[in-house]
């Protein structure tokens, strides 16, 4: 009996007049996503906007381009330049090496366990950054690192005498590649899995060589996901600080370290120049993403 009355009530509620239902429904409709949007606005969008606006204000709060102009001082331009170089080099090396590894494990006819082991390891290594990673490379390629010492004693090759330095552009790039390759593998393997075996067979029966098939089908199909991942790797390296900081202290002048120092101690003696540096970082990663979106819409009319 209770059950019956309950379900009757539920039905009565359901068939309430439409006007009443609508006035009740609209706010509840949005209620479910409100916490998310409050969170996003307060802790992602507003703080970022705050810096972006601050980049165009002087100490008195007046609009100015002076901070942006000040970005073009030699010291800051150099920092941006080396950051861009390291990010670009590590993302490109990481992307191509990661692609090679992904193709090897998916299409190379290697045993199955290698594929799953590589994917698990990639999940780990792509999240292995910061201090532990920096230290791993110090232990490997530092002045007293295992590889440095072994090369010196076994082959007589003194890396450091040949101008190698872990605390340099190449040192940082090699270290960053450690998390860039696995990130590429994790993202691109599903895309390679998406290449159907029948495409290759159809191309073969139509007389195409393996190279022609790759040029006309595989590369165009993989290209958008590949490029998207390169952009992601670039942003990943561009914002990274812990690894570089642990590795080089402040001896390598990259943008995040410069900004870090500025936040800690206002080394530039101009708070709004700090905003401008942050603005510049978002500008560059944003630009990379806009380029990607533009490219995607242009080249991918065949995608739904």
């Amino acid at each position: 009996m209770t059950d019956l009355s309950l379900s009757n009530k539920a039905i009565a509620g359901k068939t309430a007049p439409p006007a009443e239902a609508r006035s009740l429904r609209l706010p509840t409709q949005w209620l479910g996503v409100t916490p998310f949007f409050i969170f996003a606005v307060m802790f992602l969008i507003l703080p970022t906007l705050y810096l972006m606006l601050g980049a165009f204000q002087n100490e008195a709060g007046e609009f100015t381009f002076a901070n942006i102009v000040a970005l073009f001082s030699a010291n800051i331009v150099a920092a941006y330049w080396i950051s861009i170089k390291v990010s670009l080099a590590s993302s490109l090396i990481g992307a191509f090496a990661g692609l090679a590894v992904a193709i090897a494990i998916v299409r190379g006819g290697l045993p199955d366990w290698i594929r799953s082991a590589t994917l698990t390891f990639s999940g780990v290594a792509s999240n292995f950054a910061g201090v532990p990673l920096a230290f791993a490379f110090i232990a490997t390629l530092g002045r007293l690192g295992l590889v440095t010492v072994l090369l010196n004693t076994l082959v007589g090759l003194n890396l450091y005498a040949h101008g190698f330095n872990l605390l340099s552009f190449w040192g940082l790039t090699i270290t960053y590649v450690y998390f860039q390759i696995p990130l590429m593998v994790v993202i691109i393997v599903p895309a390679i899995d998406g290449l159907k075996r029948e495409w290759g067979e159809a191309a073969a029966t139509l007389g195409a060589t393996q190279a022609q098939y790759w040029r006309m089908v595989v590369i165009p199909v993989l290209w958008p996901s590949f490029l998207g991942t390169v952009i992601l790797l670039f942003a990943n390296a561009f914002g990274a600080i812990a690894t570089a900081y642990a590795l080089t202290g402040s001896s390598l002048n990259i943008v995040p370290i410069l900004l870090y120092a500025q936040i800690r101690g206002d080394v530039l003696h101009n708070a709004h120049l700090g905003y401008a540096i942050a603005f510049g970082m978002i500008f560059i990663t944003g630009l990379a993403n806009i380029f990607y979106i533009w490219f995607r819409t242009r080249s991918e009319r065949w995608l739904k």
Binding site: K196, E198, W199, E201, A202, A203, A204, T205, L206, G207, A208, T209, Q212, M216, V217, P220, V221, R301, W302, L303, K304
Partner: protein
């Protein structure tokens, strides 16, 4: 047969310890349309893939136009292939897909464009050249795939269950279209399917395969009416199987549920008292005694299914059940379950299954 165009000779294929295809032999005449029919895992697709060059035979050879192609790579064989899942290149337009083989072969663009237009006309999709595959229905995609396979004028056309992914109506119309295009171009074709109706309706000949072997190769008429083995009889069409006891092997007399039937011809290899499997197609049987039918059996109506134009009746004869179809006739009501009934047929239609 005249000089065969495609000759598959003693081909065998094993993967490790399992043999998938055993001693497969088939000659196909120029312009002939041959179907490989069988359940999944019977080796039909493996044979096709060996002809295409994706699998290398463990033994035997494959000859096309007098030339041994067993060792050739797929891209040197000049065969066209259509796959079950369409396999159109998603990044290319319909036109570019069809032109793929031409471009790879180095055909000048104006010639290729002309050929593409010709192909699109052939498959009756002339306006589709600039669409992308995802914008097309399954049936349209498969027609494009067919055009793409045919465009480079292959010597052989291989169709690997091309209709299985399509819905019933499209399947029927497309199979008729495939057959008419194939006839017009006179291209030698192998068609793999597990659908017996499909195979019967479009083939010049059918190879029914089971367990890696061709059980029977013959025209659809032969396969259906004179199945060589029990498997073929069961797999192709609906079949009633009755238990019969041999009473006189020399004159071909058997008993079904204690009713005597005289078979055409002798029962070689059987002796009196043996039990035999006898097969009858539903369409060979009539309800009641009919003129022209020399044999009849008595039984009882077990089930009646009204299917519209046809009424399917199942008649129990001892332990055997026989299915038969009668046309619906508005003047006579269908028989009732439990009624006594006779069935009749021509003894020539009753086959002994081995």
């Amino acid at each position: 047969m005249a000089e065969p165009f495609l000759s598959i000779q003693h081909v065998r294929k094993s993967f490790g310890a399992t043999t998938v295809v055993e001693d497969f032999n088939l000659d196909v005449a120029p312009g002939e349309f041959v179907s490989f029919l069988g359940p999944s895992g019977c080796g039909k697709t493996t044979v096709l893939r060996m002809v295409a060059g994706f699998e290398e035979p463990s033994a035997g050879k494959i000859v096309v136009g007098g030339k041994d192609i067993t060792k050739l790579k797929p891209n040197q064989r000049n065969v066209g292939m259509v796959f079950q899942a369409y396999a159109l290149f998603p990044n290319l337009t319909v036109g570019q897909n069809i032109a793929f083989g031409l471009k790879v072969a180095g055909m000048p663009k104006p010639d290729a464009d002309r050929r593409v237009a010709e192909m699109l006309d052939m498959i009756k999709l002339p306006q589709m050249a600039d669409r992308y595959p995802y914008q097309l229905s399954g049936g349209q995609q498969q027609r494009i795939a067919l055009a793409r396979a045919i465009a480079p004028k292959p010597k052989l056309l291989l169709l690997d269950e091309p209709l299985s992914a399509l819905d019933a109506k499209v399947r029927v119309s497309l199979r008729e279209e495939i057959r008419s295009i194939q006839k017009k171009l006179g291209i030698t074709t192998i068609f793999v399917t597990h659908d017996q109706e499909e195979a019967l309706s479009i083939s010049d000949r059918i190879a029914v395969m089971y367990g890696g072997k061709a059980e029977q190769v013959g025209t659809p008429f032969e396969i259906y009416n004179r199945p060589a083995t029990k498997f073929v009889a069961n797999f192709v069409g609906t079949l009633n199987v009755l238990e019969g006891k041999v009473t006189d092997a020399a004159s071909g007399k058997v008993q079904v549920n204690a009713q005597e039937v005289s078979l055409k011809g002798k029962l070689n290899g059987s002796k009196s008292g043996d039990t035999l499997s006898l097969a009858l197609r539903p369409e060979a049987i009539s309800l009641g005694r009919q003129p022209g039918h020399d044999t009849s059996l008595s039984g009882e109506i077990a089930e009646v299914h009204f299917l519209g134009s046809v009424i399917r009746v199942r008649v129990g004869i001892g332990g055997n059940t026989v299915s038969l179809d009668t046309f619906n006739n508005s003047a006579t009501p269908p028989p009732a379950v439990g009624d006594k009934a006779d069935i009749s047929f021509s003894s020539g239609d009753m086959l002994v299954l081995h």
